[in-house]
């Protein structure tokens, strides 16, 4: 590929991929030291959208922190709700109603598909293709309407509660979900023909942005970034939480370690999520959508707990330290893109500018989740 030899005269210049730049999908600044068009050194600068959720966690009760989780990663907000709710349920030992577990899995996987679709559109937009973004948004709109009819909001959900969900799902939602899955299944070949098999796309992605498995381990990268480098690590299979152990689905793993591998992992995950949803809709039990008599005052016993769930971008972990009162003592939020982005500095050394941006696009960044 492009062998890069630092030019002797060493007149590098610093280019600011500024806080607002079309390729950074949010307020992230990358200080690039460039030599001509080659990136010599890339250093992401964070903190432009830092809101200190962890301090908010310390002066709100356990139930009042719920809306904050949806604001961290607004593309897959339900997974963050799920992560926080299962963390508190694990700490306080709250039972979750059987039907609620299935509702959570269905809505969570729908949200994962909508997050992957948005990433697909934005990624192809980064590489210059415009129309796939709008086709992906067309499909994503169907999911948002479905979830809006049940949860009431479109992006920052606050739908899960300790012990269950806010309100029940109706048959209209189930019919809509099955219709949507059939529709997306017909459209997936179109996406592959239009983008994946396109010679320009292949030239742009194959062999670009190599991230070795060892680099993933050293930086703690998880999610599609790690699965693109041959690491089979998906918390839904690895630490089965909720009722994920009851569905059979594969975890797509590619070993080429390049941007095309990460791209294919996410495209296959859309297919797997659809399989999960179908099985969950088929096995949806009746019964209450919320365990009765779960009081809003939750007092987990003293001590610290760790709980991790699989979001569209990797493993979202929460470390709770509770001192037995109704407000958390310490709430650490481990966001997956924080570690995924930390390997960008080393991975993008010596690459061309457009390839470095293709690599950044393939890391699927959501900046508010990094800055918290």
């Amino acid at each position: 590929m492009s062998a890069f030899a630092q030019s002797q005269t060493n007149e590098t210049f610093v280019l600011n991929l500024g806080p607002q730049h079309p390729a950074t999908h949010g307020v992230l600044r990358v200080k690039l030291v460039m030599d001509g068009e080659y990136v010599v050194e890339a250093e992401p600068v964070l903190g432009y959208i830092h809101r200190m959720h962890e301090k908010m966690g310390e002066n709100r009760t356990w139930a009042q922190f719920l809306p904050n989780t949806g604001r961290m990663d607004y593309l897959h907000a339900l997974a963050f709700n799920h992560g926080y709710v299962t963390a508190v349920e694990r700490a306080a030992g709250i039972e979750v109603a059987e039907r609620a577990e299935y509702i959570r899995v269905i809505t969570n996987e729908l949200n994962r598909i909508s997050s992957h679709l948005l990433w697909f559109g934005a990624f192809v937009l980064d590489l210059g293709g415009f129309s796939p973004l709008l086709y992906a948004f067309d499909d994503r709109e169907h999911i948002l309407d479905l979830l809006e009819s049940v949860t009431g909001s479109r992006l920052t959900y606050c739908y899960y509660r300790f012990g269950g969900v806010y309100n029940d799902i109706d048959d209209g939602f189930l019919a809509g979900t099955t219709a949507f899955i059939k529709r997306l299944r017909d459209r997936m070949p179109m996406y592959h023909n239009l983008v994946t098999k396109n010679i320009i796309m292949m030239k742009r992605l194959e062999g670009i942005g190599p991230v070795s498995a060892e680099m993933c381990r050293k930086y703690g990268a998880t999610g599609p970034v790690a699965r693109g480098s041959g690491i089979d690590f998906d918390l839904r299979k690895h630490e089965p939480y909720s009722v994920y152990s009851e569905f059979d689905f594969e975890v797509p793993v590619y070993t080429e370690c390049d941007s095309m591998a990460r791209y294919m992992v996410r495209m296959d995950e859309i297919e797997q999520s659809m399989r999960i949803i179908e099985q969950a809709v088929a096995k949806l039990p009746d019964g209450p959508f919320m365990t009765p008599k779960v009081s809003k005052i939750v007092k987990p016993p003293k001590g610290d707990y760790y709980n991790a769930v699989e979001t569209a971008r990797g493993s979202f972990g929460i470390r709770l330290v509770s001192d037995g009162t109704n407000t958390p003592y310490r709430l650490k939020l481990r966001s997956p893109t924080f570690s995924n982005l930390s390997l960008f500095g080393e991975a993008s050394r010596g690459m061309l500018l457009p390839d470095a941006l293709a690599l950044m696009g393939s890391l699927d960044l959501v900046i508010p989740e990094i800055d918290r």
Binding site: R60, A63, Q64, F65, L66, P67, N68, R71, S131, Y135, D138, D145, E148, S149, V150, T151, G152, S153, T156, C158, R161, Y166, N167, M190, N193, L194, V195, K197, N198, I199, I200, K296
Partner: protein, 146 residues
């Protein structure tokens, strides 16, 4: 040498396949809604800002001024006040202010309200020139509504 030509041919073939897809969409009907002229109906569970529910017979709100919603709200948007009528038992609502600029629509207030006196409204296109256009006096809104 062979794969040099094979790559060219398969490459150009993939380009033509891509163009065939987009031209097919060119002739298909449009999916977008022309917003100012046509609007989408909001689903029943849409979460707009909260509104007081009018009790049919008495025409007053069902609120018993217990203050549970005020305590449940994470960002402290609700301020309410009520006073005891001379003879009657319960409290009557006199002031119910919702500061919608801080509300994150989490639904903890609606959930914590036993008599179901507050519910999500369904209006979404709120426009205002300054922040206190969004500080709603829900009692006034309830009277205006009918």
């Amino acid at each position: 040498m062979i794969d040099y030509f094979k790559e060219i041919i398969s490459g150009t073939w993939s380009l033509f396949v891509g163009m065939a897809i987009t031209i097919r969409y060119f002739f298909q009907p449009v999916v977008t809604v022309q917003y100012p002229h046509e609007t989408l109906p909001m689903p029943p569970r849409f979460r707009g800002h909260i509104d007081l529910v009018k009790d049919e017979e008495s025409g007053q709100s069902k609120c018993i001024v217990c203050g549970m919603c005020q305590k449940a709200c994470p960002s402290g948007c609700i301020t309410l006040a009520g006073e005891k009528p001379e003879g009657g038992k319960g409290k009557v609502l006199t002031k119910y202010i919702l500061d919608f600029t801080k509300c994150s629509l989490c639904g903890l207030c609606v959930e914590s309200c036993k008599p179901e006196a507050i519910a999500f409204s369904r209006d979404y296109n709120l426009a205002g020139l300054n922040r206190n256009d969004y500080v709603f006096d829900l009692i006034k809104r309830m009277e205006e509504r009918n």
